[in-house]
C-alpha cells in the first residue's frame, strides 16, 4: 500500500516512453524532465 520508489520510477518511465516526459541532458541535469502533454494540448487547442 505504501508508495514505493519502484512504483514511482515505473510511472515516470512510462510517461517518458510515451513522450509525455522528455528527459533533459542527464549529464548536465540529472533527473530533470520537461512535461509535454502532446495529446492533451492538441485537444485543448481544437476546442
Amino acid at each position: 500500500m505504501r508508495w514505493s520508489d519502484a512504483e514511482y520510477v515505473r510511472l515516470r518511465d512510462e510517461l517518458a516512453a510515451r513522450g509525455e516526459l522528455k528527459a533533459l541532458n542527464q549529464t548536465t541535469f540529472p533527473g530533470c524532465y520537461l512535461y509535454a502533454p502532446i495529446q492533451t494540448m492538441s485537444r485543448g487547442l481544437n476546442t
Partner: protein, 174 residues
C-alpha cells in the same frame, strides 16, 4: 456572483454542476474510463504532526501523481491517519478537454472537498496547493483557531550566506 478571478454560486448551482447537469460533467465519465485514474492518500507533512492535513485525491493524470509524490507523503501513513481521525479532504481532478468554457474549480469547505475539471495548471490540478493549503485550510484555520498562509520557496541561504535558487524551469524527478 462573478469576480475578476472566479465566480461564486449557490449550493444548488454547484451541486447541479458537479452532479452531471452541466456540460463539464462528461469529464467525470472520462475520469473513470481512462486508464490512469489514480487514487492516493497523501500527507502534507510529517505523519506525527497534528497540523499535518490529510487528503485523498483522485486524478486522471499520471503527471499529477508524480508531482504529488514529490510534495507529499503518500500511502500507509496517510491511510492510518484517516483511520484514526476520520477527517480528511477529498479531491477530485480531471484535465478533461481543457476547454475554458467547461473549466470548473469548485471548493466545498463545509464538506472539506474539492472538485477540479478542465485544467492541468498546477494550482488547479495539484489540489494540495492552492485549493487545499490555501482555500480549504483557511476555512479550517478559522474554525480551529490557527492561520493558514500560502508561500513560495524562492531559495535557500546557508550560514555562509550562499543563496541557492530553487529550480523552476523543469521538473526534477528523483
Amino acid at each position: 456572483m462573478h469576480g475578476y478571478r472566479g465566480a461564486g454560486g449557490s449550493e444548488q448551482q454547484l451541486d447541479a454542476a458537479s452532479r452531471g447537469q452541466e456540460p463539464h460533467a462528461g469529464a467525470v465519465s472520462r475520469l473513470h474510463a481512462r486508464p490512469y485514474a489514480v487514487r492516493r492518500a497523501l500527507l502534507h507533512g510529517p505523519d506525527r504532526l497534528a497540523l499535518c492535513p490529510v487528503r485523498v485525491e483522485i486524478t486522471d493524470s499520471a503527471y499529477v501523481v508524480l508531482n504529488m509524490a514529490l510534495m507529499t507523503r503518500m500511502g500507509r501513513p496517510a491511510l492510518e491517519r484517516i483511520a484514526s481521525e476520520e477527517v480528511f479532504v477529498r479531491g477530485l481532478h480531471s484535465t478533461g478537454d481543457l476547454n475554458p468554457a467547461r473549466r470548473f474549480i469548485m471548493h466545498f469547505p463545509e464538506e472539506l472537498s474539492i472538485q477540479s475539471f478542465g485544467s492541468g495548471y498546477g494550482g488547479n490540478a495539484l489540489l494540495g496547493k492552492k485549493c487545499h493549503a490555501l482555500r480549504i485550510a483557511s476555512w479550517q484555520a478559522r474554525d480551529e483557531g490557527w492561520l493558514a498562509e500560502h508561500m513560495l520557496l524562492m531559495g535557500l541561504q546557508s550560514r555562509l550566506a550562499k543563496c541557492t535558487m530553487s529550480p523552476q524551469p523543469s521538473l526534477r524527478l528523483r
